[in-house]
Structures are given as structure tokens and as C-alpha cells.
């Protein structure tokens, strides 16, 4: 692999605005990537603080900290913020920063669109949160309080926080669609010469499939929330049986988006993790094509299994059997991915730097999340898990390791030297990992047991038999919450200085991004790099 980059050829080359305007009008993928990541982290802390209030309420039986109305707003905003505000922007931030670099492109294909897709996000986040804050100040009815699934007819009767949420969802969806278009166009048109689709890094594959999925599903959700808005204010009855509508229709629309959304969060990380594992095992990734095909299969299957979220809503026997068996099918390509990841480090020469710890942690914890998904797919047994804490624990085992441990920790630690030009503090990084490992399991293992014992989700108070486990879970949540502050410290330290990073910061690292200096220059490839036949 060769890449021609002129050392010291940096930001002032084309001349660009400085100060605040630099960030506001920037079309540079690195600036936009940084903004996405900072935005995602701020949202992670916001959503996290909300759920810590919930865990504080659930620390003991009885109502102590928040009223039930506020409790419902907190769980709703936690879900919406984490999915749309933290997890998706974190992945998009990574895509912005790294996608051009790993495929040898100078920038994203549509830089102005890129700027727009970011700047739609902060106003959307404000719209989402402002009714909640006004509610705290005694103005209005507070934020949406329907759960992040916004089930009709509860969402039809909710206060005007719901209207803000609907508008925010429209904007968030628009932002993801714009970003997806950009990702697809960049990958299709801007790969370095010699990089065929079948030689493209798995990282790029993960994002390509995610982008295609998003273009499939987000418009459906946008249609759904528009129908909801119509029902709320314009006298339609899409979701009102009394007017000829169907409350369950909302669930179909929502989960047609909501289930693939899980894989929208997973696939980018499924693309990142092999790079990290391969790097720290000093071994090429195992089964490249098998991984690509599995990701394609997962993306394809994800849009035909949505109604497994709705077994308790009632559906025909044939429908239940179909959604059960098709859901089980997803376990096969997922298992192939796991198999490839494990085979990649099997008989490698392994060292356990922080990114590797997080990548392995992701494999192990997400593995348990996937396995518990198998039994949830059983349409008859599902009645015992659905809307109980078992389900909550299951999807947190799937959705915490993925965006937070995978994107926000493993990938950030892996590429931090490339971004900042400095190595981060390894001991603090390891402390971060162990805090996450302990806090995360201590939070969610008790929740599996709570669900099996019969505790429904989204209740602000509970029967006495659930007390001990809830207390353990709350302690775990506070440890997990604190771990993010360690992460913040490590990243800020590395951004401000520290040991200089080499171009190839990690001994086993492969890929075009490691051929340019650290920190990567403002404009990465002034001359197009050539992608070698043997490298990926």
C-alpha cells in the first residue's frame, strides 16, 4: 500500500474560517466528525443523567425522588435520546472521521450536505428536551411520557410535549437520511484506485449497509409520526378504532423502523470490531467475505422480522410462526460474525490495550444479548419476557455494548492517536473498561432476574419482592454512570497533549488511515493513494 501525503501540509492550505464560524460552516469531514462525536457524548451524558434519576427512584420501593408523571418522561426521553441522540450520531461521527480515510478519499462526497445533516441535530435535540425542562419549571405538561415506542393511543392523548417529539423525530430522521445519502455516495464513488467493493474495509461495509437500511426505514417512521400528528390535531383516526383506525397499526409502523434500527446501531460496530481485533492480534481478519455476506444477510433479514416485538398485541397463528422462525434465522449470520471475530484472534499474538479490551468486552456482552434474543423470539414463551425487565436487560446487553462500548469506547480509543496525535493514558483507559464491565453487568444481570420474577418495565414503584435486585441494579448504574467521566477525562487529556503518536500508532494496524501522519492533516489525501492488492 502506498499513500502519498505531504507532511506538514495542513489546515491552512486552502484557508478556512477560524473560531466559531469554522465550526458552523465547516465542510471538513474531520470537523463535522468531531462535532458529531461531541454531540453524541453530550447526549449520552444527558440521557444517562435521566436514567440515573430513574435508578435513584427505583433504589428502594416507594416513591421518593420523582413523581410517576416525571418518571414516565424520564424513561421516554432516555430511550429517544440514547437511540437518536447518542448512538446514531456517535456512529455517524465515526463514519465522518474515518470513512474518507479508510477508503482513501479526501473528504465526504457531499460536504455541504454533511454540514447540514449535522446542524439539524442540535435543534432537534433542543426540541426533544425543551418541553421536559419547561415542565420542570412548571410550564406545560412536560416532555413526551409514552415510552420511546410512543404507542398509540397513549401518544394521542399525551400533552404537547408529544408534538415537540414528533417534530424532533422528523428532523432527526431527515438528518440520518441526509447522512446516509452522503455515506452511500462517498463509498460508491470515492474509493481509492485498486479498492474494489470486495477489498473495501469491513468498516466501510458496515456503514454502507447501515446507510441503505436507514433510507429504507426512516421515511416509514416519518410517515407514522405524521399520521400521529394528524390524529392528534386534524381529526383523522389512523390509530383510533372508534373512527375506523387501528391502534396496532402504529406498532407495525414503529417496529418496521424500530427493529432494523437495532441493526443500524449494530452494523457500524460489526464493521469496526474486526479492525480492532485484527490489529491487536496482529493477524488478518478471518473470513472477510463471510463477514460481508453475514452483514448483508443481517441487514436484509432485519426488515422482515419487526412484528416479533408485538406477539402480545395479538396476531394470527401463521403470523406468529412466521415472525418467530424468521427472527431465529438472524441468529445464523450473527453467529457467523461471532465465529469470524473469535477466529480472527484465535492463535494471534494478542495484546490487551484498551481498544482490544473494549472490543472483546463487546463480543462477550453482545454475545449474551444475542443469545437471550433467541428465546425472546419464541412466540409462546415471549409472553413471559415481553415488557418485563428480562426484555429490558436483553436489549441493553445488545445496545449498550454496541454503540457505547463499540463506537464510543473501542473505536474512539483505537483512533484517538490518529485524531489527536497523542497517545491516551493507558491505565485510565483500562480503569474505564473495568468500571464499565463491573457497572454494566451489575446493572443488568439483576434486571434479567427481576423480569423472570415478574417485574414489568416502566413502573416507578414495585412490590417488595423486587427490592434487593433493584438496589443492586441501581448501584451498578451509578458505577456505570461514573465510568463515563473517566472516559471524558482520558479523551480530554489526549486531546490536550501527551506522548506523541506515530503514523502507525498500533503495531498491528492496517489500512490507509495509518499511512498518514498523526494527527491526520486537515485535508487528508492531497494526492490520491493507491490501494495495494494485498492489504485490506
Amino acid at each position: 500500500m502506498t499513500a502519498t501525503t505531504i507532511e506538514g501540509h495542513d489546515s491552512h492550505h486552502h484557508g478556512h474560517p477560524a473560531g466559531f464560524t469554522r465550526w458552523l460552516v465547516t465542510t471538513n469531514h474531520k470537523d463535522i466528525g468531531t462535532m458529531y462525536l461531541i454531540f453524541a457524548f453530550v447526549m449520552l451524558l444527558t440521557g444517562g443523567a435521566m436514567i440515573l434519576m430513574v435508578r435513584a427512584e427505583l433504589f428502594m420501593p416507594g416513591l421518593q425522588v420523582v413523581k410517576p408523571e416525571l418518571f414516565n418522561q424520564l424513561i421516554t426521553l432516555h430511550g429517544l435520546i440514547m437511540v437518536f441522540g447518542a448512538a446514531m450520531p456517535a456512529a455517524t461521527g465515526l463514519a465522518n472521521w474515518m470513512l474518507p480515510m479508510v477508503i482513501g478519499a479526501p473528504d465526504m462526497a457531499l460536504p455541504r450536505l454533511n454540514n447540514w445533516s449535522f446542524w439539524i441535530l442540535p435543534p432537534a435535540a433542543v426540541l426533544l428536551v425543551i418541553p421536559f425542562i419547561l415542565g420542570l419549571a412548571g410550564v406545560g405538561t412536560g416532555g413526551a411520557d409514552t415510552g420511546w415506542t410512543m404507542y398509540a393511543p397513549l401518544s394521542i392523548q399525551a400533552g404537547w410535549g408529544m408534538d415537540f417529539t414528533i417534530f424532533a423525530v422528523h428532523m432527526l430522521g431527515m438528518s440520518s437520511i441526509l447522512a446516509s445519502i452522503n455515506v452511500i455516495v462517498t463509498i460508491v464513488n470515492m474509493r481509492a484506485p485498486g479498492m474494489t467493493m470486495w477489498k473495501m474495509p469491513l468498516f466501510a461495509w458496515g456503514f454502507l449497509l447501515t446507510a441503505i437500511l436507514l433510507i429504507f426505514i426512516m421515511p416509514v417512521l416519518a410517515g407514522g409520526v405524521t399520521m400521529m400528528l394528524m390524529d392528534r390535531h386534524f381529526g383523522t383516526h389512523f390509530f383510533n378504532a372508534a373512527g375506523g383506525g387501528d391502534p396496532v397499526l402504529w406498532q407495525h409502523i414503529f417496529w418496521f423502523m424500530g427493529h432494523p434500527e437495532v441493526y443500524v446501531l449494530l452494523l457500524p460496530i460489526a464493521g469496526v470490531v474486526p479492525h480492532i481485533i485484527s490489529c491487536f492480534s496482529r493477524k488478518d481478519t478471518f473470513g472477510y467475505k463471510a463477514q460481508v455476506w453475514s452483514m448483508i444477510a443481517i441487514a436484509g433479514l432485519s426488515i422482515i422480522v419487526w412484528a416479533h416485538h408485538m406477539f402480545t398485541s395479538g396476531m394470527s397463528t401463521g403470523g406468529q410462526l412466521y415472525f418467530m422462525y424468521s427472527t431465529m434465522l438472524i441468529s445464523l449470520p450473527l453467529a457467523v460474525l461471532f465465529y469470524c471475530w473469535i477466529s480472527t484472534f484465535w492463535r494471534g499474538s494478542i495484546s490487551l490495550e484498551t481498544p482490544m479490551l473494549f472490543a472483546l468486552g463487546f463480543v462477550v456482552f453482545f454475545g449474551w444479548g444475542g443469545l437471550t434474543g433467541l428465546v425472546l423470539a419464541d412466540a409462546a414463551a415471549d409472553a413471559q419476557y415481553h415488557n418485563a425487565y428480562f426484555l429490558v436487560a436483553h436489549f441493553h446487553y445488545a445496545l449498550y455494548p454496541t454503540p457505547v462500548m463499540g463506537a464510543m469506547a473501542a473505536a474512539v480509543y483505537y483512533w484517538l492517536p490518529k485524531w489527536t496525535g497523542h497517545m491516551y493514558n493507558e491505565s485510565l483507559g483500562k480503569l474505564h473498561f473495568w468500571l464499565v464491565a463491573i457497572g454494566f453487568n451489575l446493572t443488568f444481570i439483576p434486571q434479567f432476574m427481576l423480569g423472570l420474577a415478574g417485574m414489568p418495565r416502566r413502573i416507578p414503584d414495585y412490590a417488595l419482592q423486587f427490592s434487593d435486585l433493584n438496589m443492586l441494579s441501581s448501584i451498578g448504574a451509578f458505577i456505570l454512570g461514573a465510568s463515563h467521566l473517566v472516559f471524558l477525562l482520558v479523551v480530554v487529556q489526549a486531546a490536550r497533549g501527551g506522548k506523541k503518536a506515530e503514523s502507525r500508532a498500533w503495531e498491528g494496524a492496517q489500512g490507509l488511515e495509518w499511512t498518514v501522519p498523526s494527527p491526520a492533516p486537515y485535508h487528508t489525501f492531497d494526492e490520491q493513494p493507491q490501494f495495494g492488492a494485498t492489504t485490506r
Binding site: P68, K283, A379, N387, L442
Partner: protein, 387 residues
């Protein structure tokens, strides 16, 4: 590091406690008392066994590799990137085939039978119980015997707000438990009057959403007498956590006796609707109904929680006319609101869940309390006419 090690050790100890977990109920479902629940428990236990085995075997492989194939030990990385040769191809395909077998044979076949059994609500059903969810109470109906009643949480607010010690069945106790016979196939039909609720008793292994405008079905044959408790499992608004289900399963004869008593109660209620009530009777009964049905939203003192739950004290609706000069129901008047609710808000229609006497009394009470002084005495007979 020493300071760090201590919390870490404590954390691991807590984790170990979680994993062993017998003290907390552990990894199994509650004792199953219906065929569906037994099926589910069987699937669950088998699954936990297989999933944990898979998980720990793979975890062991991961840990073995991470500790053995270590750079610091000078381990040289192999170079394979795909299966080569018969043995490797076998090792690649075996897990795939194994999973296929687990998915579609070990779980797939019993799941097929379980779904068919779960859905078979109609064959040999001995009786029907209709369950209607409303914010935030359950209404139960025995259509064959023309018995119906409402069941609400009885845990006092003082316990919820930590002003009193919590009772044994905190949040899992109701005023009227559903009584059901053991050994009979009971066909449940669920629906809702406002938003989606979900009727869940873990010991029965069933959960079906109660959806406004639709009917959903499930069934249970309770095999063992006893009291079984559960809760609403679908987020249904602010009091979602306070909507328990209590089922009392009794032998057939005891059940018949209970049904006869209920019938007598309903007959008495119907008769009382026909007689003229004094204002004091209406006020006394109305207070009871108000506290049970209305106080959760409109507050015991009628001050409400505006704007979601308007105040009744001084309210135009609660002090304005409820019938016009021709004796017709005033649209959006007090009685209309209570009977028919207000669409698009949490105010539900009470025509199905409250009796004529209940509605007449509660309207009378609301019009003459919290500083409201209309002097009205709404008679059950009027309510009956307005239905």
C-alpha cells in the same frame, strides 16, 4: 491502585451474588400453575441451559486464547484467514449446523406446538371472562352469569409515599380479586376503554394486550388453588405501576357460591337504581366512588393536576347544567363527561364501568364538594334514562 481494588472486589462479590442468585429468585420463572406456563417454564429452563453452555464454552475459548496466545509470552501469530482443509471446514460448518439444529429443532418444534396450544382458546372452553383495562383499573365480566365488577389497587397512598410501613402485598393488592375455578379451561377476552394495557399473571404464563376497539384472547386452566398476583405490563400512563391483577383460584363449588353472591349484589344494585335516593345517601356513596375512581387524577380535594387533569373545584362543567329544560343530556355537561368521557384526553367514559347509582352519586358528590354548592341531587333513574 489499592484504593481502586477495594470497590472492584466489592463489585465482583456483588456480581458473584447475582450469578448464584438463589437468594433473589434466580434464573427461573415463578412456579407454573397452567399448562401454558409449564410449557414456557420448560422452554425457558432448557434455553437457559443451552444458552449458558454456549456462552460459557465460547467465553472459555476467548479467555483461553487471550491468555495463551499472548504477545507478551512471545506467541507468534498464525496467518490463516479462512478455513483450509477438511478439518478446518468442519470446524467452521459445525457451529453453523449446530445453531441451525438448536434454532429449528430443539426450540423450533416445541415452539410450533406451544404457539398452536397458546392460540387454541376455543376448543373445550368451559367459561368466558372478559377483562377490560381502563386508566387505571381492571373491569372483569362473567357474561354467562351477568356478573361484572371493577378491581382497583388498595395499597394506601401513605405506604406509597413512605409515611407508613409497607404491607406484605404492597402494590399487589386489590379491592375485588377475580375469582376463578380451578381445573376449568377459562377463555379470557381482553379489551380496553382508553389506551393499551396488558393483563399479566406470571404464574399463568399468559400476557395479552388489552386494546381499545379490539378483542384479544388467551386462555388458562389453573391447576392449583391459591392467590396469584400480577400487574399491567404495558405503559398506560401515570399510574401504570399501580394497576395490579389479583386472581383467587378456588374449587368449582366455592366458585359457584361466589358467583351467586355476586349476582345477588348486582340485583340489589339494579334495584337501588330504581328507588329515590336521599341526598345524604348520594353524597356518602359518591365520596366512596370518587375516592376509588376519580381521586387519582382529580386529587382527593378536587384540585386536579391542570392542565392534564382539570380541577373540579369551581369548574364550569361540574357546576354548570347537566340536563337541559327538555330533560335531555347537555352535551359536554357534567353528566355527559362522566358517562362518555372526552376523546383525546385521559378522561374516559364511565358508562361501562360504573353503575347508575355510582354515576349519580359521584356526580352529586362532585357538584356539592370542594367548595361547589349546586345543591343538586342526581338520581340514578336520571342516569339510567340518559344512557
Amino acid at each position: 491502585m489499592n484504593r481502586l481494588r477495594r470497590p472492584a472486589t466489592a463489585g465482583f462479590a456483588a456480581l458473584a451474588a447475582c450469578l448464584s442468585a438463589q437468594a433473589f429468585g434466580g434464573w427461573t420463572l415463578p412456579e407454573a400453575v397452567t399448562p401454558v406456563a409449564e410449557d414456557t417454564a420448560h422452554v425457558h429452563n432448557l434455553f437457559m441451559l443451552i444458552a449458558s453452555t454456549l456462552f460459557f464454552v465460547v467465553l472459555a475459548l476467548v479467555l483461553y486464547s487471550v491468555f495463551t496466545h499472548r504477545k507478551s509470552k512471545g506467541y507468534k501469530a498464525a496467518t490463516f484467514t479462512g478455513p483450509k482443509g477438511g478439518k478446518q471446514v468442519f470446524f467452521t460448518l459445525a457451529p453453523f449446523a449446530g445453531l441451525l439444529f438448536i434454532d429449528y429443532v430443539i426450540f423450533g418444534i416445541p415452539a410450533y406446538h406451544a404457539v398452536l396450544a397458546y392460540e387454541d382458546t376455543k376448543t373445550n372452553a368451559d367459561m368466558v371472562v372478559k377483562v377490560t383495562g381502563s386508566q387505571w383499573k381492571w373491569q372483569y365480566e362473567y357474561p354467562a352469569d351477568n356478573v361484572k365488577f371493577v378491581s382497583v389497587l388498595t395499597t394506601p397512598q401513605e405506604q406509597i409515599h413512605n409515611q407508613q410501613p409497607k404491607g406484605e402485598n404492597y402494590l399487589l393488592e386489590v379491592d375485588n380479586a377475580v375469582v376463578l375455578p380451578v381445573g376449568k379451561k377459562i377463555r379470557f377476552i381482553t379489551t380496553s376503554t382508553d389506551v393499551i394495557h396488558s393483563w399479566w399473571v406470571p404464574a399463568f404464563g399468559v400476557k395479552r394486550d388489552a386494546i381499545p376497539g379490539f378483542l384479544r384472547e388467551f386462555w388458562a386452566t389453573i391447576e392449583k388453588p391459591g392467590i396469584y398476583r400480577g400487574q399491567c405490563a404495558e405503559l398506560c400512563g401515570k399510574d401504570h405501576g399501580f394497576m395490579p391483577v389479583v386472581v383467587k383460584a378456588v374449587p368449582e363449588e366455592e366458585f359457584r357460591k361466589w358467583i351467586d353472591e355476586q349476582k345477588a349484589v348486582q340485583v340489589a344494585a339494579a334495584e337501588s337504581a330504581g328507588k329515590e335516593w336521599t341526598k345524604d345517601e348520594l353524597m356518602a356513596h359518591g365520596k366512596e366512588v370518587y375516592e376509588k375512581t376519580c381521586a387519582a387524577c382529580h386529587k382527593p380535594d378536587g384540585s386536579g393536576m391542570p392542565p392534564a387533569f382539570p380541577a373540579l373545584a369551581g369548574s364550569k362543567i361540574a357546576t354548570g347544567p347537566y340536563v337541559d329544560s327538555d330533560g335531555h343530556l347537555v352535551k359536554d355537561g357534567h353528566l355527559d363527561r362522566v358517562l362518555n368521557g372526552k376523546t383525546g384526553t385521559a378522561m374516559q367514559a364511565f358508562r361501562e364501568t360504573l353503575s347508575d347509582a355510582d354515576i349519580a352519586s359521584v356526580v352529586t358528590y362532585e357538584r356539592n364538594s370542594f367548595g361547589n354548592k349546586t345543591g343538586d341531587a342526581v338520581q340514578p333513574a336520571v342516569v339510567k334514562k340518559m344512557r
